[in-house]
């Protein structure tokens, strides 16, 4: 019953908490101390190898959490605790205080840069299409899908892919929001969608596991820029982000960074050749 009142008063409460939040910005060194005190940072992951993965024993791995784990240890936070989330729920979850940071291959884009505080780039990858063998509809680019009115494409909700598709003239009813990668693969196999799109490395991993000769990968998709992700922090946690960046830069310099991500197939060079500033401004 208490909740009823809370819901009724949501609008007014929210206004006041937002005021509080903006007022508290100067004191955000506290965030790192808070994480140190609790001994772990809560990270959001997507369970999309090789970016993020959960092993059979429940252990979290993947390139993005591995990098984050090392950096947090350097910062004095012993461990990371991951919760799996849909891509679409990550930024709202971050804002709602569900996680301290998103380390999930959440690619930097200007709109996202406006909503969260990104670290410097960590993982870079280009787009790929998963199609049935022989690519029966000859779908090589987003424009191809836009032109063929029978073609449907699936991708994660709240991902960049939906925006690319829309821009290339794919109406929203032909872009199917698929909750997870395995469902996307299954929907291509079953012929529910013609294309499933994710970054190249994710698609490759998916296809390798499925081991299905009736599938084919189009990579990279022509005309698409390489995108890079970064660890995403809540707006207001910039001090924590800056501390994270300092450690990240040290690792990049020492070659330790490459040692962590290259076994997963990512290129350290790609991440080091660009910056947050460029990526956040790129589409403008």
């Amino acid at each position: 019953m208490k909740k009823l009142g809370i819901m009724a008063g949501v609008a007014s409460l929210v206004v006041s908490t937002m005021l509080l939040a903006s007022g508290a910005r100067s004191a955000d060194d506290a965030k790192l101390d808070e994480l140190k005190a609790q001994g772990f940072a809560r990270v959001a992951i997507a369970n999309e190898p090789p970016y993020t993965a959960v092993a059979a024993d429940g252990k979290v791995s993947g390139a993005a959490p591995d990098v984050a784990r090392v950096i947090f240890q350097r910062l004095g936070v012993k461990d990371i605790v991951a919760s799996i989330s849909e891509y679409g729920a990550m930024i709202p979850g971050l804002q709602a205080g569900r996680f301290d940071v998103v380390t999930a291959g959440l690619m930097m884009k200007p709109e996202r840069c406006a909503s969260v505080a990104y670290s410097e780039p960590v993982l870079c990858d280009a787009e790929a299409f998963l199609v049935r063998k022989g690519n029966p509809k000859h779908l090589m680019t987003y424009e191809d899908i836009g032109k063929d009115s029978s073609a449907t494409i699936g991708g994660p909700g709240g991902g960049l892919q939906a925006k690319y598709a829309l821009k290339a003239g794919v109406p929203s009813d032909r872009f199917i929001v698929v909750p997870d990668a395995q469902s996307g693969l299954k929907m291509v196999q079953d012929g529910r969608i013609d294309v499933y799109t994710l970054p190249i490395l994710s698609i490759n991993d998916l296809v390798k596991k499925a081991n299905d000769p009736n599938l084919e990968v189009v990579a990279p998709v022509q005309g698409m820029p390489v995108s890079c992700d970064g660890a995403a922090f809540k707006k207001g946690d910039e001090a924590l982000r800056d501390a994270f960046d300092v450690e990240l830069a040290k690792m990049k310099k020492s070659g330790e960074f490459a040692k962590i991500i290259e076994p997963y197939g990512f290129s350290a060079k790609a991440a080091m050749s660009t910056t947050r500033e460029k990526l956040c401004a790129s589409a403008q």
Binding site: N47, S83, Q95, A96, Q182, L185
Partner: protein
């Protein structure tokens, strides 16, 4: 070809979370059912209205929507709940609202003559409720409570959508790790069914025990 034993372990962990959610949710639901159910029978208009508002609100909106609201919107209002807390809170309040109607119905089904006997023996309102009416009403509530508990068990699957690692969620994890869809889903369907059978059996046993000596009196 695949390491099933490792994944089975993952699914069993999920089953533990599901059981935990069901038990804690049921405990909250039970409390809310009695509070709101008795509240609806209160002499005070304000309490009746409050109880009715609670019941209609939680029965009127979808549990799924309530869960998303509790998980994503309440934190913006300064109330941050862990997925487990959000799950228990929403499931408990939701099923409690249904349970409240069961409590009310059962109490009202106790014949007027029992209330009159209480008056004739000079028992107070609460004394009569506590010692005479509720013990009898409980027996009437029990089978429906059992059904509600099974509904609660089933509803826990929804928490997988707010990334709480329950049975359904773990099935999804196993699915994305192994590429097999049939095995994880078939396994968890079976586990859910077994859990439901256990609840049904437990309630029947409890019912038999409570009904001892009442044979032929209760319908």
């Amino acid at each position: 070809m695949t390491d099933w034993s490792g994944y089975l372990n993952l699914i069993l962990q999920g089953a533990m979370v599901t059981v935990q959610l069901t038990v804690m949710g049921a405990a909250l639901a039970l409390v809310m059912a009695f509070v709101a159910g008795l509240g609806r029978l209160s002499r005070f208009v304000a309490i009746r209205c409050l109880a009715t508002a609670y019941i209609e609100f939680f029965r009127g909106t979808s549990g799924f929507v309530q869960l998303f609201f509790a998980y994503f919107v309440l934190p913006l209002a300064g109330v941050t709940l862990t997925p487990l807390q959000a799950g228990v809170l929403v499931l408990g309040l939701n099923v409690g609202a249904y349970g409240a109607e069961v409590v009310r119905g059962a109490i009202r089904s106790i014949g007027r003559e029992q209330y009159e006997a209480c008056t004739a023996l000079n028992l107070g309102r609460w004394q009569g409720m506590r010692h005479v009416i509720l013990p009898q009403a409980l027996l009437i509530m029990l089978p429906t409570f059992g059904n509600n508990a099974i509904e609660l068990l089933k509803a826990t699957s929804v928490v997988s959508l707010i990334s709480l690692a329950d049975l359904t969620f773990q099935a999804q994890v196993v699915r994305s790790q192994t590429g097999s869809t049939l095995m994880p889903f078939a396994t968890i369907l079976l586990i859910y069914f077994i859990l439901a059978l256990i609840i049904a059996w437990g309630v029947r046993t409890l019912e038999r025990r409570l009904a001892r000596g009442l044979d032929g009196v209760r319908v």
